[in-house]
Amino acid sequence: MSIERNKRKPFPWVKTAVAAVVVGALIVLGAQVFERQLHPESAGIAPAARVPGAEFPTDTFKGKDVPQPINYSHKLHAGDLGINCLYCHTYARRSKVAGIPPTAKCMGCHTVVGTDKPEIEKLTQMWQSNQSPAWNKVNDVPDFVHFSHERHLQKFLFDNPEMDIKNAPDVCAMCHGDMNQVGVAKKMKPLTMGFCIRCHENNQGPSDCTRCHK
């Protein structure tokens, strides 16, 4: 009888234990890595490093179409005509908000250019009646988030020896996507806290909560 009991297959204790520990370690490490989304295709370096010395967040977001009082086309102005972002959004380099260009700036060109287009006529008429168009905010972060365009431009553009002001679109594209590809503005990056944190980690940004939350 004892002989027969010896024939019983022993349970593989060592294997089980090893497996358990390995699984545990995998859960910890794997979750760390995946949940923080540090794997390349999510937040690694873009195919062509567009901002030297910085890792380029490649997350994308499919923003909905936001109707605007005037169908302003970024593709036309920034893309085809190649106007620098900072030409219109000039506040971005001096303030936490990028701001909407003052109507005067539009009229700077459009008193002569394309005055016959309906949209331009709309604009002109607003300008004459001394009212400013009510734009709908497209890239909108929660009110407890205090993002500073100024600081980010400073770091990636002006303090960046390899960058020239004409590369501004590349820097803006980090958080706004390639606006020169779309017509009326769309949200093209998630702009969630995870998005920010990942980029901050990859580019050694501050990890101090009070930098953004006050």
């Binding site: 407890f144 100024e150 600081r151």
Partner: protein, 287 residues
């Protein structure tokens, strides 16, 4: 790149470091304050300035009576004078023989803050600037921090005060640099962190260090008698550093061995070893 293990080792080094230096991490700044109680007249200017700067909600008589008010900077008034040797005549005078003692009490930004370790979601923590920060949008309102605060300077939003505190058009006055707190969130004095941030951003843009006096807290700026001093303790040249040195008070210790015990500098509840960063200068009285 945050590799888990790499950070663990970093964590360990910080751990040993923390043990050696009494929990002091490598701070960029160490913002601290000096309040001269002999100059303080208790006029409330600082308190009101704080309401204006930090979007503090007024709660009205009922809630104030229920002690649910949220005055980050409160001026306390006491009539007794412990540890002052009395002239016998006035010891038990039946009318007041001297003025009151006023105490501006705000968050002391303890370096070993009791409130920080107990927050279940780490909504309050220590910034590299040495500030005791409260992240409103992380707070879930367990209120443990307030229970654990010996100074009782953490205030909880027991209600939504937005309609009553800022009826239109008053909401236009709200400071856009500060979130407006809504119900269920703990809040407290931040040493006007929005001003600190603004100054450090400017400094960074101009590629220089923050100058002493560049940052003024709202209470300091408005204090009519200039009783409040604010600055960076790590900056040897700063007025605050000088004052702390002059009064021979050091961070990270709860018994100060002053060679001259008559120096006025002291920290409230130093014996609790919470390592507060507000240095009070004793009130003086002609006896």
């Amino acid at each position: 790149m945050s590799s888990l293990l790499g950070n663990i080792f970093k964590g360990w080094s910080d751990y040993s470091k923390g043990n050696e230096e009494g929990g002091h991490h490598n701070y960029e700044h160490m913002y601290a304050m000096v309040i001269d109680l002999d100059k303080c007249t208790g006029c409330n200017a600082c308190s009101t300035a704080c309401y204006a700067e930090n979007n503090l909600a007024t709660v009205g008589e009922e809630y104030f009576g229920a002690r649910q008010a949220m005055h980050w900077m409160r001026i306390e008034r006491y009539f007794d004078e412990p540890n002052l040797e009395k002239a016998g005549s006035e010891a038990d005078a039946d009318t007041q023989s001297h003025g009151a003692s006023f105490l501006p009490m705000m968050c002391q930004h303890c370096n070993a803050a009791p409130c920080e370790p107990v927050c279940p979601v780490a909504a309050t923590y220590h910034t590299p600037d040495g500030l005791n920060a409260q992240i409103y949008n992380r707070c879930i309102g367990s209120r443990y921090c307030a229970n654990n605060c010996p100074f009782r300077v953490r205030y909880f939003n027991f209600y939504d005060h937005q309609e009553t505190a800022w009826p239109a058009p008053m909401e236009q006055q709200l400071n856009p640099d500060i979130s407006v707190r809504s119900k269920g969130v703990m809040e407290k004095c931040t040493f006007c962190i929005q001003r600190t941030r603004a100054a450090s951003n400017t400094a960074k843009n101009e590629g220089r260090a923050i100058r002493d006096g560049e940052i003024q807290t709202a209470c300091q700026q408005t204090c009519p008698t200039s009783a409040i001093l604010f600055g960076d303790l790590l900056d040897e040249t700063s007025a605050v550093h000088q004052a702390w040195k002059r009064h021979q008070v050091q961070l990270g210790r709860y018994t100060q061995n002053k060679e001259n015990p008559e120096l006025r500098g002291y920290r409230i509840f130093e014996e609790l070893n919470v390592d507060t960063k507000v240095l009070y200068l004793e009130r003086v009285r002609e006896v």
